[in-house]
Symmetry: C2
Subunit: 230 residues, 2 copies
């Protein structure tokens, strides 16, 4: 458990998160694998969760660096911070089924609700406003934040890429919780975790992924977002 | 008029825009003034429009660098590219009243529909999806793009700031029109114009301004957005 002391006034003064166990739900997907790999390489204690424990175990072995593979419920229960990296289609059902295990946890939603058609990607608008607000609605006993939306799964998973030049926009209602997530993001070389608003401003951050996909297609790249002026 | 030849395959191959007259509607506001100043300093022929011509004339004199002040209708009529920098509250009414003058023009919407309350800024969702899509609906004979959403009016207007490190996300349906806007953005030192998707993906780009305001408040800065990986 992280403390609930108010964070210091200096927005760059972030807590020591080295003792926190991080779980990644949907950790067998590309985004989840990539985040688990990067955080484990940075020295964090990481487990990945999947509906089928054996799939998580197999993926964890491939990732290496001490990452453990568990079923989703055990992954949630044994973690202090739980990153939600499941497909949007399974988002509500997965979180609903894990409500008890996620109670009291710091939940980091990184899901981007997108649709695809002939004209390319476009955002979907959940009834709650965003995936993060859906998580907050479904998990009233958890502390829900949103982050890690814009990271390229390709870059995250490529061990030849030592540094990923991008910022991680972190959203949430509680300053200390956001600071914890910002500190975790900052463990990955090239990244900074930047507080970027309350959960009601999460939709556009999630949806911006559609624009980054358009950029990737036009410029043949894996685009990221860096905030300038800080 | 810009040509409608398909743009070259190289996304960095942008047209020569030096001959285009740029008009800025709402050019007496901070954002409009700032854009007019930067484009005029870069050598572009620029006029600013206002409902009252005398206010536009006064603002243009303050800006200098050859900027002309006109009433909105004349500004639109005499420009090839028209940047819409009016307050969101007057967006629909202004565009409706200028439909004839804007016919055939390349319109660049940079309006961010935002609301403010005790918890800070939050996006408003126009019925059409975004300010840019509202413009496209109201101006069926114009070529509507969206850009220049995330620029700090403070930095734009400060002559001591020589370079503004940020990218300009450009959205639109027509590749040549987007390339023209990208080229205009690239005239301002430190900026690149980056194609970032179709108009249906404009809402989240407009709305992201709420997040940048949150960043500005927390970090005491004028934040911008740089796309990495390109």
């Amino acid at each position: 458990m992280t403390s609930h002391k108010p964070a210091a006034t200096d927005p760059w003064d972030l807590p020591d998160v080295s003792g926190l166990a991080v779980g990644v739900l949907g950790g067998t997907g590309d985004q989840g694998r990539g985040l688990a790999y990067r955080l484990a390489v940075a020295g964090q204690r990481v487990s990945i969760g999947s509906r089928a424990a054996e799939r998580a175990v197999a993926a964890a072995e491939e990732i290496g660096h001490g990452v453990r593979g568990l079923d989703n419920a055990t992954c949630a229960r044994e973690s202090d911070v739980v990153i939600v990296a499941v497909p949007w289609e399974g988002h509500a059902a997965t979180l609903t089924s894990l409500r008890a295990e996620l109670a009291g946890k710091l939940v980091v939603d990184c899901v981007n609700p997108l649709g695809f058609d002939k004209k390319g990607p476009h955002p979907l608008v959940p009834d709650e406003g965003s995936a993060a607000e859906q998580a907050a609605a479904l998990l009233p006993e958890s502390r829900v934040t949103a982050a890690f939306h814009h990271l390229s799964a390709v870059l995250l998973q490529d061990p030849a890429v030592e540094k990923i030049e991008t910022d991680v926009m972190v959203l949430g209602e509680d300053r200390a919780d956001c600071a914890t997530v910002q500190a975790l993001a900052g463990l990955i070389p090239g990244m900074r975790g930047i507080f970027s608003g309350r959960l009601r401003n999460a939709h556009q951050v999630e949806a911006l992924t559609a624009n980054l996909i358009a950029v990737n297609r036009r410029y043949k790249t894996h685009a990221g977002v860096r905030l300038t002026g800080l």
